[in-house]
Amino acid sequence: MQTVDLRGVACPTNFVKAKLALEMADAGDILRFFLDAGEPVANVSASLQGEGHRLLAREERQGYFVLTVEKVGG
């Protein structure tokens, strides 16, 4: 499973990088994204779902969040 560490990456670059990683993946692939708490995880989570991808899990760790996302579509 591919992991993309977006901690410390400002909005909206974090979303852009998450979007690019998903573009490169195949439909059905699962990716993990590390995101800072607050607006980063909230915005990226909502925006990736807005792109049609499936949010499988959202876990809080020490000072950051892990989003597990399944790519939907081509």
Binding site: P12, T13, F15, V16, K17, K19, L20, E23, M24, E51
Partner: protein
């Protein structure tokens, strides 16, 4: 797709768009657009195509920057007076975006050279100010099968259409022959409001970007008229003309020639 950190940041506002994404931005980077004319229309087109990251942008113009240009040709600065327009344009495009390749063509387009100039480009923007050039560009692009954007400006009015050769009406479908000498006042006599080519040239760049991305509806089969005084846009449907001399069923124009009857709108001194 292989974008650098800098490119991801630079094009982030494009990549975010559903219609663009990394794939679309890669298409822009692979795209080649030629702008004929580095004047009122060419200025905004060149600036925006460079900003958009179109990978190769050609710019053709034999003229040097003159003081009266600066009222509307926003790619040129006072410090550029006397410089070749293509050099002035290239410098600003690369200052905006060093990642684009700019190819300068410091010449007038004519029947002898235009086929060679347009060859290899995906899309052409007609930013010229004379009927002879407009007919020549139309014919060259139709014969070469290269989509292009036509535009013209005068006073407070601009017009533009996009030609997909063989599929949509070309300039001659709508205007088969040039206007008689004296029918249209030359810009030198009639003037043009400086802000007008800013709008029209940006529309032409919009069509080029949309064409490269493969999104949206192009101005193919439509003539868009912009009346800056009334601030109104009018769209007129156009049909391919089966009797069109260059793209019709029995074309009479099968090779390029300089339009003898067309009066050059802008008479240059010297």
């Amino acid at each position: 797709m292989g974008f650098s950190e800098e490119e991801i940041e630079r094009y982030s506002r494009h990549i975010i768009l559903k219609e663009v994404g990394g794939k679309g931005q890669a298409r822009l980077r692979a795209g080649k657009v030629l702008i004929i004319g580095a004047g009122g229309l060419g200025s905004p087109a060149a600036l925006y195509l460079a900003a958009a990251g179109v990978g190769r942008i050609g710019i053709a113009d034999a003229d040097v920057v003159e003081l009266s240009n600066l009222q509307r040709q926003v790619i040129h600065h006072t410090a550029d007076l006397g410089r070749p327009k293509v050099d002035s344009a290239r410098d600003k495009m690369r200052a905006i975006n060093p990642g684009v390749e700019v190819v300068t063509h410091p010449c007038w387009v004519c029947a002898e050279n235009i086929a060679g100039i347009v060859a290899g480009y995906d899309f052409v923007i007609d930013g010229t100010d004379g009927f002879a050039a407009k007919y020549l560009i139309n014919d060259a692009c139709v014969l070469a099968g290269i989509p292009f954007s036509h535009a013209g400006i005068l006073h407070f009015v601009g017009q533009t259409m996009t030609v997909l050769p063989g599929r949509s009406p070309c300039f001659r479908c709508v205007f088969p022959v040039p206007p008689a000498a004296g029918a249209i006042p030359s810009c030198a006599e009639a003037g043009v409001i400086g802000v007008l080519p800013g709008v029209m040239g940006a529309i032409q760049a919009t069509e080029a970007v949309k064409f490269l991305l493969g999104v949206g509806e192009l101005l193919a089969g439509r003539l868009l008229i912009y009346d800056a005084e009334a601030l109104e846009f009018h769209s007129t449907p156009l049909a391919k003309n089966p009797a069109c001399p260059v793209c019709g069923e029995s074309p009479t124009i099968t090779e390029l020639r300089d339009e003898a009857g067309a009066r050059t709108v802008c008479e240059r001194e010297g």
